[in-house]
């Protein structure tokens, strides 16, 4: 938690300094709390990434390869030939400034280089210097800069201060996607060994064990069984988790945080209760035990490498199709990259809900359905019985997670579910939800503790909108469909809007879900009384 109080932290001046932005200088020492630690040697060596070494951003010498400038230049050139997006985004920005105040990190820090346009200019200035005639002839007049060590340090600071949430891209008249620019910059930095541990370690873990947290198969099984036993003890509900079952109809892919830590575990149990009730023939996998993919924050090759296991496992287990749990960047990968990278999937069938008979035409090729699409269809077809009053102690709002919002457009499905499973639902202000939604400020590998001040700063827009509905409607629960959100939003809410808890959507589904042969429920999944304490005393 930051040492500064919210009242102190919000004293932000959004006016830029007089000094020109082209002079790079980042004082890492005085800015502790706003950057992440570099990648550990073990992870980097395991993954075969470049330049494993002990170093710190506060060091003068970053121990780069001798020809690091050449490596980045060549890497840049290669990517310009491989990604039209990069070339177009490098050449079309007019610096109109529409994106300037759309970034949560800019709003929360006032640091002008967090304006998306300048974040991209950090890369664009090198592009102009290295690859354009005007930049070569006119230099700084045309916005060109030489790639110096200070520029690289600045890249590190600011490209690991972007959560790739794509909010700026919604407002850009040319659709310039800073997430894409940040991804390229991070790839280039990876080439010379400039990276952060919060991406390198999960990537290495994920490659080895199948999930970011490095949970090995026996622990995976134990964790899940433990959660199920707890459910049985607390609520008397029995669910039978299915793992690595060959010939199941559906492979269920989840973010590992869901079976690892609160409040994700409640959502996880929610999935299993739902599947148990509808009798879905599903299996989880101890090998493909992670849908999330920190490759997205590392390099395109790493995305593919980590995503490989999903179809590989689907094929091995002989399932017909795949359901994916509530996870943000996992869904960006599943939706925008998986089929292209690791498809085609001729061994799977077009997803068809065995309960409702609905064919998911929108997943015809990828064969992977979002659990919110699946559940919304169940509710619509009245295949599950729900008692929303069991969530009456909650006054709920919904946080649209960046990737399901701006890389899929999954807005109505979770809302439809929430409105069916709880009676008190309130939207946050309209410029902070749906496609305008604000990031939790901990995505893209930035959700680590050493970066906490920046997370809280970047969390200001979301936290402030949350505070608004808390004060206006007594909202006390923010639901979301992202595992990183469930990990990063609790400290953010505690800081900016104390009194609001965080949950997944399927936790609330499971609370409301009427199961066959169940005894009357008095407690919710968190083991708390279904009625708010204060209500019991005032109710006559």
């Amino acid at each position: 938690m930051s040492e500064k109080s919210p009242q102190e932290l919000i004293q932000i001046d959004l006016n830029p300094p007089r000094k020109k932005w082209m002079d790079p200088s980042v004082d890492f020492e005085s800015r502790r709390g706003t950057w992440s630690y570099p990648g550990g040697v073990k992870s980097i060596e395991y993954m075969g990434f470049a330049n494993p070494r002990e170093w710190s951003p506060t060091d003068e010498d970053w121990k780069l390869p001798e020809n690091w400038q050449q490596i980045i230049h060549d890497g840049f050139k290669e990517r310009l030939g491989k990604y039209r997006s990069l070339r177009v985004f490098m050449e079309t920005c007019v610096r109109c400034g529409a994106c300037a105040d759309k970034c949560h990190f800019f709003i929360g820090s006032g640091d002008p280089k967090n304006m998306p346009v300048l974040r991209s200019e950090l890369l664009r200035s090198i592009y102009r210097n290295d690859f354009t005639l005007a930049g070569k002839i006119l230099g700084a007049f045309a916005g060109g800069r030489k790639l110096t060590l200070d520029v690289l340090k600045e890249w590190f600071y600011y490209f690991f201060q972007c959560t790739e949430c794509r909010r700026c891209s919604v407002y850009c008249p040319y659709g310039i996607d800073t997430a894409e620019v940040t991804m390229m910059a991070r790839e280039l930095m990876m080439l010379v060994g400039v990276n952060i541990n919060w991406i390198c370690e999960p990537v290495a873990n994920c490659h080895r064990t199948g999930n970011h947290l490095g949970i090995q198969p026996h622990t995976f099984k134990d964790n899940i069984e433990f959660l199920c036993e707890e459910l049985e003890d607390d609520l008397g509900i029995t669910v039978n988790p299915v793992i690595n079952k060959k010939g199941a109809e559906v492979l269920f892919i989840i973010p590992s945080a869901d079976y690892f830590a609160d409040p994700g575990t409640y959502t996880f149990i929610g999935y299993l209760m739902l599947f148990q009730q509808i009798g879905l023939d599903y299996t989880m996998s101890a090998y493909a035990s992670e849908g999330g993919n920190f490759g997205l924050f590392t390099s395109h090759d790493t995305i593919k490498k980590l995503n490989y296991k999903i179809y590989h496992e689907a094929k091995r287990l002989g399932v017909k199709w795949i359901i994916g749990g509530e996870c943000g960047h996992m869904w960006r990968v599943m939706h925008q990259y998986m089929d292209t990278m690791n498809g085609p999937t001729d061994f799977l069938e077009v997803p068809r809900s065995p309960i409702t008979g609905t064919v998911f035409e929108n997943a015809r090729s990828t064969k992977m359905v979002h659990i919110c699409e699946f559940t919304a269809d169940l509710i619509r077809n009245k295949k599950i019985k729900l008692d929303p009053s069991r969530n009456d102690k909650y006054r709920v709002t919904f946080h649209d997670s960046c990737n399901p919002s701006r890389a899929l457009g999954l807005f109505e499905e979770p809302r439809y579910i929430l409105k069916n499973v709880c009676n008190n639902f309130f939207e946050m202000p309209e410029n902070t939800i749906r496609e305008h939604t604000f990031c939790c400020a901990g995505g893209a590998g930035l959700g680590n503790d050493e970066n906490m001040e920046m997370r809280l700063r970047g969390g200001l827009p979301r936290g402030n909108a949350l505070k608004h509905v808390r004060d206006a409607h007594d909202v006390n629960l923010m639901s979301c469909i992202c595992a990183i959100d469930r990990a990063t939003l609790p400290p953010l809410a505690e800081y900016w809007a104390p009194g609001v808890e965080i949950s997944g959507v399927h936790e609330l589904v499971a609370n409301a879900l009427v199961m066959d042969g169940e005894t009357e429920r008095t407690k919710n999944l968190r083991g708390e009384s279904l009625k708010a304490e204060t209500e019991e005393t005032t109710d006559v």
């Binding site: 939706h335 015809r364 919002s405």
Partner: protein
């Protein structure tokens, strides 16, 4: 600083053009040769740039979705902000290219620190100025057709009469002439007055604005103040169209300034941010349908990367798997 340097640069260019009045040879160079070469550079340059973009593939389908996806049949999808197919993409691009839909969404953040409140207020000034500038520019360019073709098409006359609807002044002051200068003036002032925009502005951003303002103002003055013999101008320009390079008679410094700055704009275009004009068509976050899961997108350079296979994983965790009671593929 950048603003000043650019102003000086455009002023120097304008002064350079004034020297053309001095001699017949220079008149020919500035009045005919340079414009011809500049136009050729513009044409070849833009085609070359777009071709270079086209040579790089679009490896992934990464549209920015700004509305509800098409999923279940009973959920209404937002076809224009999150297109599910070609028709939606055409609609989205139509609105983006002609009406700057994304810019229309613009908001301004307002931080009320003592009340700990962050507000987002819709703001349409930039959108309105951008629309006014680009549409005026298009109509002004279109009006110039009367200098290039004979007979002047009826549609040009119709546009002229609509544009001069208010019938103010002789010759009539066109609404777009005024809008063009006013909107450019606003965009320039905004760049100088808005601290954030000033901070992000490069010298070249001012250069483009000064150049366009120089062109617009010199054109306006030529029509309304220091009039030129436009019949001679048209005769000369029409000569270029049949590749006879002649400079018009009966024109003064303003004409050369106007034509030279247009030439500079032509040459500058393919090497600058003005490429946003063709670029907007090629932005993969806007021109692709969000149908990734329904239709596979092919990456021509998809690298042959294989992840950690199940067999490798099983081998590594063999003993733990056995102890935990997992059924193994390989005993």
């Amino acid at each position: 600083m950048g603003a000043l340097v650019s102003l000086v640069a455009v002023a120097v260019l304008a002064l350079l053009a004034v020297t053309a009045v001095a001699s017949d040879n220079l008149r020919l160079v500035f009045g005919a040769v340079i414009p011809g070469v500049a136009f050729a550079v513009f044409l070849v340059g833009v085609v070359a740039r777009v071709t270079r973009w086209a040579r790089a593939p679009v490896p992934f389908r990464i549209p920015t979705t700004a509305g509800q996806q098409k999923s279940l049949p009973w959920i209404k999808n937002s076809e224009l902000d999150n297109p599910s197919g070609t028709l939606g993409v055409v609609g989205r691009m139509f609105l983006e290219v002609l009406f700057f839909r994304s810019l229309f969404r613009n908001t301004k953040v307002e931080l009320i620190t003592d009340k700990e409140k962050v507000n987002y207020i819709g703001t349409k000034y930039l959108w309105a100025a951008a629309m006014a500038f680009h549409w005026s520019m298009l109509i002004v360019v279109f009006r110039h057709f009367r200098f290039f073709v004979e007979p002047v098409p009826r549609v040009v006359e119709i546009i002229q009469s609509l544009d001069g609807f208010f019938q103010v002044g002789v010759p009539v002051i066109y609404a777009t002439s005024v809008l063009l200068i006013v909107s450019l003036g606003y965009l320039l002032l905004r760049r100088l007055a808005d601290a954030k925009v000033k901070y992000i502005s490069l010298p070249t951003d001012y250069f483009a604005l000064y150049l366009l303002l120089g062109i617009a103002i010199s054109g306006f003055l030529m029509r309304h103040l220091e009039k030129v013999d436009i019949v001679n101008v048209k005769a000369a320009i029409a000569g270029w169209a049949s590749f006879q390079l002649v400079a018009p008679e009966g024109v003064g410094a303003l004409y050369f300034i106007h034509v030279f700055l247009v030439s500079v704009l032509f040459v500058y275009f393919p090497f600058s941010k003005l490429l946003h004009a063709p670029g907007v068509f090629l932005s993969p976050t806007r021109n692709l349908a969000n149908n990734n899961r329904a239709k596979r997108h092919v990456n021509p350079w998809n690298p042959p990367i294989v992840g950690h296979t199940y067999a490798e994983w099983e081998e590594e965790f063999h003993d733990k798997l056995v102890a935990s009671g997992f059924v193994l593929d390989k005993e």
